[in-house]
């Protein structure tokens, strides 16, 4: 029953935080304890999955093709672990931001329950072995995210919230359509069962289903022709919420793509469509970032660009590509969340999100400069950071796998250099130059903290902890990439997953 805990604990915790809604400290203790416990469970699951193969829990005691199963294989357990650690750090940051802004005693009735529900949804999405539960997991996660992005609304957040909610709802309904068509074609929604039955379908039907899955998860992951909602909606949410969304939500889309493409629609050769999408995503994203002036929008466009890197790993479709994608997802969840948290710290210091209105922060806030510089260089992939390790894994997967992948591998390098240019541009505008006076909050009476505000030390600590996680990924690159390589082998071989879910006869 161990794989059920990462879903159950946050849901129970969410209920408990509603009950103790009056006492801010109790909510905070419950939130942090639950996420810490889930991190421990995820770490145990990772060790178990790495040593003894996928850990399977049959919900309600019904065996695989009939009942719903939760499966923690290497990939799911690894992503669960890193996601929960990032969620925990973001929660600490959010709690201390709340204390700094509104005082220690005030409680927010909705924030903690919703935050934990979101975490439960993310865990379920990683662990589920059932296509319809995956839909439910996405709905749990998205419904929680709708509330988080539209909390404390002003006119601007209503606008971005609307875009986000409508696009996400559309993609959810497309997902539902996909589930219906998959069920009509095969008569099952169990992922392992689907792996065998889809292979027996006519090729045309397989292609249609694969494209539907790609569009559905492509919207959630913000692959380029489907990315427009992301830079519009993410930057307007509060910093911790944006960090959580940027770190986790798009990556859950990538995970779903990785799982379905390796398990249900294996191709065996590099996918031209995905290679094209990866190139376009990398280039359009980073060029979009160069045109922006708002720090959060720059980071959002860089997020879109780096989704392309992961699609590149998917497009290679061999074990090395899948393993490289897994490693890149681990690296990117950490670094993107860190950057948005740092952006929140910068905004609290300068009172603006416009990089043209900032300057000389390196002199005024050297600690902030260090906290920005490390994840920024990590994102660009400068050695010896985790970004370099992850990009190297992707390039090794792509190079020597035919002309097409080698060309796209070149685009990976180009996009990395442009990313470096984008973050250096931010660095020069924000941290160098003449120090500027921070802009005041131009409407101090409203409830929203727009301008400068006091920053609590734990906010720095939470951000620094994430920087440390990212540095640990770089330091432990050897063992970690060994795990992701094994995860990639598992994904492409499919037998460990099928055998664990369907029993021995399934592992043909």
């Amino acid at each position: 029953m161990l794989p059920a805990l990462p879903v159950l604990l946050p849901l129970l915790g969410a209920g408990a935080t509603v009950v103790v809604g009056r006492w801010a400290w109790a909510q905070r203790v419950i939130g942090v304890t639950v996420l810490a416990a889930v991190s421990v469970v995820a770490a145990v699951l990772l060790v178990m999955a790495d040593r003894g193969g996928p850990v399977v829990a049959e919900i309600g005691g019904w065996a695989a093709p009939v009942g719903i199963v939760l499966v923690a294989d290497r990939l799911a357990a690894l992503l669960l672990l890193i996601s929960t650690v990032v969620t925990l750090a973001v929660l600490v940051y959010a709690i201390d931001q709340r204390i700094a802004d509104y005082g220690r005693r005030t409680a927010s009735t909705t924030f903690h329950p919703i935050f934990l529900v979101l975490s439960a949804g993310v865990s379920l999405a990683y662990l589920t072995g059932d296509l319809f539960s995956l839909f439910v997991a996405f709905e749990i996660m998205l419904a929680a995210s709708y509330v988080l992005i539209t909390r404390r609304t002003d006119a601007r957040r209503i606008r971005s919230g609307m875009t986000y909610v409508i696009i996400s709802l559309t993609s959810s309904l497309l997902f539902l359509t996909t589930v219906a068509l998959v069920y009509a074609a095969t008569g099952t929604v169990n992922l392992a069962d689907l792996a065998e039955r889809v292979a027996a379908l006519p090729t045309g039907l397989q292609t249609v289903l694969a494209l539907l899955v790609l569009v559905t998860f492509g919207i959630k992951a913000a692959i380029v022709p489907l990315h427009f909602w992301l830079p519009d909606s993410y930057p307007n949410a509060p910093a911790p919420v944006t960090a959580l969304f940027a770190g986790l939500l798009t990556k859950v889309g990538i995970y779903a793509l990785l799982r379905t493409r390796t398990l249900i629609f294996p191709e065996g050769h590099p996918s031209v469509l995905l290679l094209v999408l990866a190139s376009v995503t990398m280039i359009v994203g980073v060029l979009g970032a160069l045109a922006q002036n708002d720090l959060n929008r720059i980071l959002s466009f860089l997020l879109v660009s780096h989704i392309g890197f992961m699609i590149f790993g998917l497009a290679v479709t061999d074990a090395a590509g899948a393993g490289g994608t897994a490693l890149y997802v681990v690296h990117h969840i950490t670094v993107q969340a860190t950057l948005f948290l740092v952006s929140g710290l910068i905004t609290r210091r300068t009172g603006t999100v416009s990089i043209d209105a900032m300057g000389g922060l390196a002199k005024r806030a050297p600690l902030l400069a260090v906290l920005f510089a490390i994840p920024a260089l990590t994102l660009a992939g400068v050695p010896p950071t985790s970004g370099f390790v992850a990009k190297l894994a992707l390039l090794q997967a792509g190079a020597g796998d035919g002309v097409a992948t080698s060309v796209v591998a070149g685009i990976v390098i180009l996009a990395s250099l442009l990313t470096l240019y984008a973050v250096v541009r931010v660095w020069v505008r924000v941290f160098w130059g003449e120090p500027r006076e921070p802009l005041p909050d131009n409407d101090p009476d409203d409830d929203l903290v727009v301008g400068t505000a006091r920053t609590a030390t734990p906010m720095y600590v939470a951000t620094a902890a994430l920087v440390a996680v990212s540095l640990t990924i770089a330091a432990a690159a050897g063992p970690l990439s060994a795990v992701t390589t094994r995860a990639g082998d598992d994904l492409v071989a499919r037998t460990p997953y099928l055998g664990a879910v369907l029993g021995q006869e399934g592992a043909r």
Binding site: D154, A155, V189, N293, V450
Partner: protein, 156 residues
Amino acid sequence: MTTVSLAMAVVVAALYAVGFYLLLQRSLMRVLLGVVVLGHGANLLLQLTGGPPARPPILGGSAEGSAPLADPLPQALALTAVVITFAMTTYLLALGYRSWVLVGHDEVQDDLEDRRIARRRTPTASMGEEADEQGDEVGVDPGSAAASGDPVGDRS
């Protein structure tokens, strides 16, 4: 593999078409109706995957003869999906109401920052068009930037 009758296929297609058409409108009420219709289409499609109509249900259905029972799983899935779409509909309604309270109408606004960057990059040749656009923006959107205390908008 399940197939459906032509009539039902046409109904589902019509629901999807109407739903997506309404989704592309600017008013949030129409978008909401679009989501409702689209949700109906998706749920109907889910129902249809259970097999041809008029089969006995699995509970209380007679087991006599070799007549196959209706597949219960799509019904369970559709029930879950109906609840989810219903919840999302109420949420969108609340969002539309909040928008009406804050902005005075329920139209989805343009992204001001997007417009600003687009203007910054346009060459001077198309100045007239820009001015039009700017006038439009002010007319359509009386106070989104000002009301929110937008720190960016003030200095542009």
